[in-house]
């Protein structure tokens, strides 16, 4: 994510306050530091992951990621292992809580649209490499689908027609996050 940081800052700078790359870089670095000591309870581990982002300077995207992770944490509390087939369900829980918290809706041209596509694309897959591949394709497809559509949420909204051909930095960030899982 360090490599992606300046790309994301630039994209975000064009449409918002330019802190997306820094937020993610810092958050994932905390995660990396914490990784060796994460608890066996998947729910508690996901909670710590969420906290890696709440520790980063207040940013909407960071808070949304933390919110999504917290929802997944609640759903997996007390389990030491979770089957890969549960990923779409967990993504659904994350999606709902992120939408509730940020008041975003599907169709607004945000990370929620991309995440929903990932959720659908990973249905029925039970192996991580296949899920990651399907997920990346889903995010790419979502970005392509939304080119020509206006931003309907957040600061990018004020750009009106100028925003039509631009990709949502939040979607690009999601793609980079998933790519770093390979």
């Amino acid at each position: 994510m360090d490599g992606a940081a300046s790309e994301l800052n630039k994209l975000d700078g064009a449409l918002g306050d330019g802190d997306l790359g820094v937020t993610l870089s810092q958050g994932f670095r905390h995660l990396q530091d914490d990784a060796p000591n994460l608890p066996d309870d998947v729910g508690m581990a996901l909670l710590q992951c969420a906290q890696a982002f709440t520790r980063v300077t207040a940013s909407t995207y960071g808070t949304l990621l933390a919110t999504g992770m917290m929802a997944a944490a609640k759903a997996t509390r007390g389990q030491n292992a979770v089957p890969w087939t549960e990923i779409p369900q967990l993504l659904g829980a994350a999606l709902k809580s992120m939408s509730d918290r940020g008041k975003g809706q599907l169709g607004d041209k945000t990370v929620l649209d991309a995440l929903n596509a990932v959720r659908l694309a990973t249905e029925g897959l039970d192996e991580p490499a296949a899920q990651v591949k399907a997920a990346i394709q889903a995010v790419d497809q979502t970005m392509a689908d939304f080119r020509g559509h206006p931003f309907r949420r957040g600061r990018a909204r004020i750009f009106g027609d100028k925003g039509l051909e631009l990709d949502d930095p939040g979607m690009v960030a999601l793609k980079r996050i998933i790519q770093s899982l390979i």
């Binding site: 909670l47 933390a66 919110t67 917290m70």
Partner: protein, 344 residues
């Protein structure tokens, strides 16, 4: 939030401070040093203030939080019969999730924790997340948002209103209830009733300056005032020429009574609050008008508060709050309390 470079202090900012980056931390240091019986520091960089007696076993904890720049709100109201812990943000900025979670933990005496704070988007998001975080530690939390600023939204959208000076009444009433060792449900219910019964409107004459910004939060003409302005300089409902004290107070009174009509025999507490720079003398001039008007209506005023209770640094202006009382609320309002800024 964009990365900030450390700039040379803007010489046009006529405030008494050292480095702007140290404004809040130095304030906390001074506050705790002056009142060690009331404040202990916790959390990252000591940005959580906690009553030394907290947590009190079996008592519902009450926490608050929000941006600095409003003293005595928020953190000033920690003490017996009041609040237990407070997460402190940078000037006019929300404290983060972690600080709020730390405040909740510090206030938790095993009977649950009420999060009682002003209705501002960032604070709501962060306090909600803090509650979810501590859920994993089996700490039960509830929320009551103070949304008393009648100028910020109409009666049909009351839940969108900003939280302003009415917070002081809610802190007092909820704190008194918690001190009786009432349950989380009961403390929450009475806090909500207090919040629902508080109505406030403000008027601003001159702006304040956030240290990190280095210049005033808004501009206003030399002979102008803005009715309904928020405590961070949020736009009000009407900007116009500065009127007399009685005209201003009369207009504000009308706005409050439109929202919450009062009839003969009703009992209210009244808070005439300086936003920072307006002196006591002027607050008393306004109070005199309110007292007269309410007496004419046959409304009794109980335990009025006149002074600096919820400020916006050096903003000139005042806010007027009515807290309508029933038997329960009145008893709680008059119960003993103790903090450096309010004693009953």
């Amino acid at each position: 939030m964009a990365l900030r470079l450390t700039l040379e202090r803007d010489q046009s900012m006529k405030k008494i401070l050292n480095r702007t980056e140290d404004y809040v931390l130095e304030m906390l240091e001074g506050l705790c040093s002056a009142h060690p019986a009331y404040f202990k520091r916790r959390g990252a960089e000591g940005r959580v203030l906690v009553r030394p007696e907290a947590p009190i076993a079996g008592k519902v904890g009450i926490v608050t939080g929000g941006g600095s720049g409003h003293l005595p709100v928020f953190t000033g109201y920690l003490g017996p019969g009041l609040l237990d812990a407070c997460a402190v943000g940078e000037v006019f900025a929300s404290p983060g999730v972690e600080l709020m979670a730390e405040a909740i933990r510090a206030a938790n005496g095993g009977a649950g924790v009420l999060r009682l704070y002003g209705n501002y988007g960032g604070d709501v998001m962060n306090f909600d997340m803090a509650g979810e975080t501590v859920e994993f530690e089996d700490i039960r939390t509830t929320t009551v948002l103070v949304a008393d600023d009648v100028a910020s939204a109409g009666p049909a959208e009351r839940e969108k209103r900003r939280g302003v000076a009415g917070m002081v009444y809610c802190f007092k009433i909820a704190g008194a209830k918690a001190a009786t060792m009432a349950s989380l449900e009961d403390v929450t219910a009475v806090a909500q009733k207090a919040a629902d019964n508080c109505h406030t409107v403000g008027v601003a004459l001159t702006p304040c300056t956030v240290p990190a910004a280095g210049r005033p939060t808004f501009t206003i003409g030399e002979t102008e005032m803005e009715i309904g302005m928020g405590i961070h300089g949020e736009p009000g409902v009407r900007r116009g020429p500065l009127r007399t004290a009685d005209e201003i107070t009369g207009e504000m009174l009308k706005m409050l009574l439109a929202d919450m009509p009062l009839k003969s025999g009703d009992r209210v507490s009244v808070l005439v609050n300086s936003l920072g720079a307006t002196p006591l003398e002027e607050l008393y001039i306004c109070y005199r008008y309110v007292a007269c008007e309410l007496a004419a209506k046959g409304v009794d005023i109980i335990a009025p508060l006149i002074g600096r209770y919820a400020t916006s640094m050096e903003m000139t202006g005042m806010s007027l709050t009515f807290c309508k009382l029933d038997t329960e609320l009145e008893a709680l309002l008059l119960a003993p309390c103790d903090c450096p800024f309010l004693r009953c």
